[in-house]
Symmetry: C2
Subunit: 327 residues, 2 copies
Amino acid sequence: MKFSTQELMEGIRSGNKRLIAKAITLVESKKEEHRRQAEELLKELMHFTGNSVRVGVTGVPGAGKSTFIENFGRLAIANGKKVAVLAIDPSSAINKGSILGDKTRMEELAKEENAFIRPSPSSGFLGGVANTTFETMMICEAAGYDYILIETVGVGQSEVLVADITDVFLFLKIIGGGDELQGIKRGIMEMVDLIFINKVDKDNLQKAKNTRLELKRALDFIPPKEKGWKVPVLFGSALSNEGLDEVFQKINEFISLKKKTHRFEEVRKQQAEKRYEYWVQEYILSAMKKSNSLEEAYLQHKKNASALVFNPSTEAKLFVEKFLSEN
Amino acid sequence: MKFSTQELMEGIRSGNKRLIAKAITLVESKKEEHRRQAEELLKELMHFTGNSVRVGVTGVPGAGKSTFIENFGRLAIANGKKVAVLAIDPSSAINKGSILGDKTRMEELAKEENAFIRPSPSSGFLGGVANTTFETMMICEAAGYDYILIETVGVGQSEVLVADITDVFLFLKIIGGGDELQGIKRGIMEMVDLIFINKVDKDNLQKAKNTRLELKRALDFIPPKEKGWKVPVLFGSALSNEGLDEVFQKINEFISLKKKTHRFEEVRKQQAEKRYEYWVQEYILSAMKKSNSLEEAYLQHKKNASALVFNPSTEAKLFVEKFLSEN
């Protein structure tokens, strides 16, 4: 890395986008020396974090997430806010093209002085996705961004991870073929704080109202996530900027409520503990990964367990003994 | 332990209840020498496992779980089956009385030659509950029990754990005060394979029908857990043996379906892998626990993370470095 921690620090604090991007590359790196500098940097930056509203956005491909984020971001900027966009794309490790695709789709937002857009790579052993997004978020907060929008493409466990690092979780829905709940991933409805039915116009207004009714009924069957908050089901068109002001307003209402009930800080503390536990596991796993033979042993013992003729706990013990003896 | 592995093995295989109980005590022990013998034993027993139907039973206190299990167990025995009952009670570590309470409540079943009843203690570092229930189940299977009923009192994450080691998950419901879905724990409805509305008689039959309707509607809003299986909502009275034969039949239907679609074995393999991952973590945690200073360090770094002024991943790294250097 060509920049000193001090230089990166100052660059971030003064809002220098090039240095913000450099710092993010640093925290995303798996090289030990980079990791060391990243931790040095984060240690300094932590004092300047915590002041943004962290918004998770999910929805099936085609729900219009990029357009929503672009125009919602511009609305927030028009309201005097600074907006950072992070995308979690588990496919990015394989297909770099899809990220660039996303990036160019948000070109109007990218032109804004008060916007910062960054795709986030997937990474991690054993299916961990975007485990550095939390730290990227810290950098953006220290750089003074007021709203941090985190997009998830909804593959695997990515929604859970995003819900675990954000203050408000948004679900974009498009009108389906009648059975509106079909196709909604298990568990999503229990995670959401706000639903926006997108791509609604004059022609499908009645359908949108039916969809809303069905979603509201489904929500009635789910215990509330935050006391005193009834998940709003809004609709409009992100492309024509219809309904986005209402979303903006509802998000702010929700954040105010959580601050009033002290749940805002409470949840963030729980999230930090979860992050810690996640990283303890991750660092132990990466110690395992250092040697190919350990990783192979891990998988072989797992395979033995899965064959149903070996006791899982015995296999686990054999592996952990090997692991501890080699460290 | 006074018995050799061979003696325990033979005792289990011949259905000697006293030796079955001894073997369970062995796998529940945290002493290293017991653990070693337990693994020796399980290694031999694994070849004789896999042949039971594993049934998880949950419901709020007062739903009649013990009565249900007792009379359902007797019904299965009347059908020529052998039944083992394991109870997961996270309070047992503190309150041994409640287990004995449960035990005596099932005294009719306990008298049966073909029944075996065993409460299961909670244990584990960092909130792990009843992590040896899986192994206790292996012992019961090797002893030839056809149905293994696992009761959970529904505290904390116990349902998830039980759902993760069983083939069919049953939810006992009693008729509530009108809003039937209030009071159902988050996530339960997505886990169940069968619902039984208990304590229904002539006087509350109409209410039971309303409850059933409401539960069925709620289920319509939940993506199916097993393809081709619509969760049945049955009702009756466990105390008067009404409706239990239908439950027995539906469980067998469900198992047949899962076997036909090969989901039965597939899910068990996934469960075994999960168990393996669980135990890898558990053995690493127990290596941490060996030293008080390590456990204190773990908690102190976690506290730092939760204070929101230290970076969770840095705290995790500091801890893992300490841990690996001491092992």
